[in-house]
């Protein structure tokens, strides 16, 4: 039995009086591609952000590769991790954002090599060499000197994926990676993600791309109002939803 890559037990999160996550239980195994769908405001992005500790959870347990996120346990007591320890753990988890969040004052290559140099202390030559490989992998070898404002949204998102991969993460989180893209640019980004899945990367993908969920996903989770309504293999859930809410949602997006 291998340790699960992500293990969530009764994870709860609240913003003020608003309960965003009302007890999430979830397991993502190494190499698995889990797709999370659901209406906006259902807490799927928040859950994703909890996994790399961009949000602190209020209750429950959340661990990545067997280690608690943001805390250390000694006996019965939890100790908050220091900033530097949180950073070290985050470095092992890649994240891709809906709005790309590339650094606009850096070129594509500079965006990619920044963290390997600053966080991992890699030499510039090594980092640049891998940045070139990654840019080639996402099909943007000719854009290495382009600033984000000079390339399309789809290209920016592919650079963002390359930037996350440059840290050689063991887990990739995708937060609606294609939602801000023009329809004809979505395909290129999904192709890159599909390639990544085929290479065995563990991925948690929040998306509205049902086609992608069906083809690439190993498991599908439907969330609504802070709870997991339904989960299973994408084919089963999409073709044969068990719950009314899932049916209602799928009838709108399919």
């Amino acid at each position: 039995m291998t340790t699960p890559m992500v293990l969530a037990e009764n994870v709860q999160k609240r913003f003020g009086l608003l309960e965003v996550l009302k007890g999430i239980d979830l397991q993502v195994n190494p190499g698995e591609v889990m797709v999370i769908i659901g209406p906006s405001g259902s807490g799927k992005s928040t859950f994703l952000r909890c996994i790399n500790h961009l949000e602190k959870i209020d209750a429950g347990r959340l661990s990545v590769a067997g280690e608690l996120v943001g805390y250390r346990q000694r006996g019965d007591k939890l100790y908050e991790l220091k900033d530097s320890e949180v950073c070290r753990k985050r470095a092992e988890i890649g994240m891709v954002f809906q709005r790309f969040n590339l650094f606009p004052h850096m070129t594509a290559t500079e965006n990619i090599v920044e963290a390997p140099i600053r966080v991992k202390g890699e030499s510039k030559a090594t980092a640049v060499a891998r940045a070139n490989e990654l840019l080639a992998r996402v099909g943007l070898s000719d854009k290495c000197d382009a600033y984000p404002s000079q390339i399309s949204g789809g290209q920016q998102q592919r650079v963002a994926i390359a930037r996350a991969l440059a840290m050689q993460p063991k887990l990739m989180l995708f937060d609606e990676p294609t939602s801000a893209l023009d329809p004809e640019l979505v395909g290129d980004v999904l192709d890159v993600m599909r390639g990544l899945a085929e290479d065995g990367m563990t991925m948690v993908v929040v998306t509205h791309e049902i086609g992608f969920a069906r083809e690439v996903g190993d498991s599908l989770v439907f969330m609504d109002e802070g709870v997991i309504v339904e989960k299973g293999s994408p084919r089963d859930v999409l073709a044969n939803p068990q719950h009314e809410r899932t049916k209602a949602f799928l009838s709108k997006v399919l």
């Binding site: 790399n52 961009l54 900033d83 530097s84 950073c87 070290r88 753990k89 985050r90 470095a91 092992e92 988890i93 890649g94 994240m95 954002f97 709005r99 969040n101 590339l102 650094f103 606009p104 004052h105 850096m106 070129t107 920044e114 963290a115 600053r118 966080v119 600033y147 984000p148 404002s149 000079q150 963002a160 930037r163 996350a164 840290m167």
Partner: protein
Amino acid sequence: MQPRHSSAAGDGSGPVQLKAVPVRHPGRWIAAAVLVVLGAMLVHAIVFSRVKRGNSHETRFGWAVVAKFFLSRQIFDGLWLTIQLTVLAMAIGIVGGILLAVMRLSQNPLLSGTSWVYIWFFRGTPVLVQLLFWSNLSYLFPPPTGISIGIPFGPTFAHYSANSLVTAYVAAVIGLGFNEAAYMAEIVRAGILSVDEGQSEAAQSLGMTRWNTMRRVVLPQAMRVIIPPTGNETISMLKTSSLASVIPLTELLYSVQIIYARTYQTIPMLLVASIWYLIVTSILTFGQYYLERYFGRGSSRQLPPTPLQRFRRMLTVFHSSVPPPTPAGEVFAGLQTGGAT
């Protein structure tokens, strides 16, 4: 089909230029006439008119006196001191401002509170009062003890005379600098807050520390917002440094004051100072443009041309016999052919 683009040489096949009587603007002509008269009056008063002072007729503004002192040694010494004060005070202001802004935005309540109190105090009292305060520090720390360093209520390790430690020069630099830091803190804070939160989230998700995130990702982007008001502050500082004349420090203003106290030629000497202030602020304005251009990289698809590039382009436009077709002209030509067929 007719060709949509008429060649600039005009071979006759292209569309005819539309002829129309443009809208008349009589108001503009009247305003121009009034301005010309007022301008002539101003030039006459400033440059040509002469008045009798004592036994001689001289220009109203005393340009001979201005010319005599404009490049004098005393003025240059004063100007140099003014520039030193501006540079040093702004250096303290910028470094202190960044520090205070980062403290203010820190999650540590002690740091943000300290920053708040600092800004409250230094922004809330006149800089002239602060300058006088620093220059009179020896009243608070009189000899023979002076300023001592040690443990409060306990032993002291070193003594300094307040007057030798805080000279007029030091008082001016720290007085102006500490005050400026309070203003710069607010400017830097606004700059930091203007950077999208997604930027620091992206940096953090890559495992970058708070410090690296601030230094490598947030601050460089904040610079775009910080630089214009900082240029403004620098220009302002150049002029505010004249307050140091009360400490007294012989910067530019005090240098001319010393001279007119002797010669009673107040206005011409103030003109000398004003012209120098204008020259230096003009140079600073120029420098600010290039700094903004540097930190604007990546924010727009193409950087705006430098004044030099603009000048060269203007020259090539004037020199080429065939004017380049403007987009507006093309649209116009298209409309014409469309209308004719």
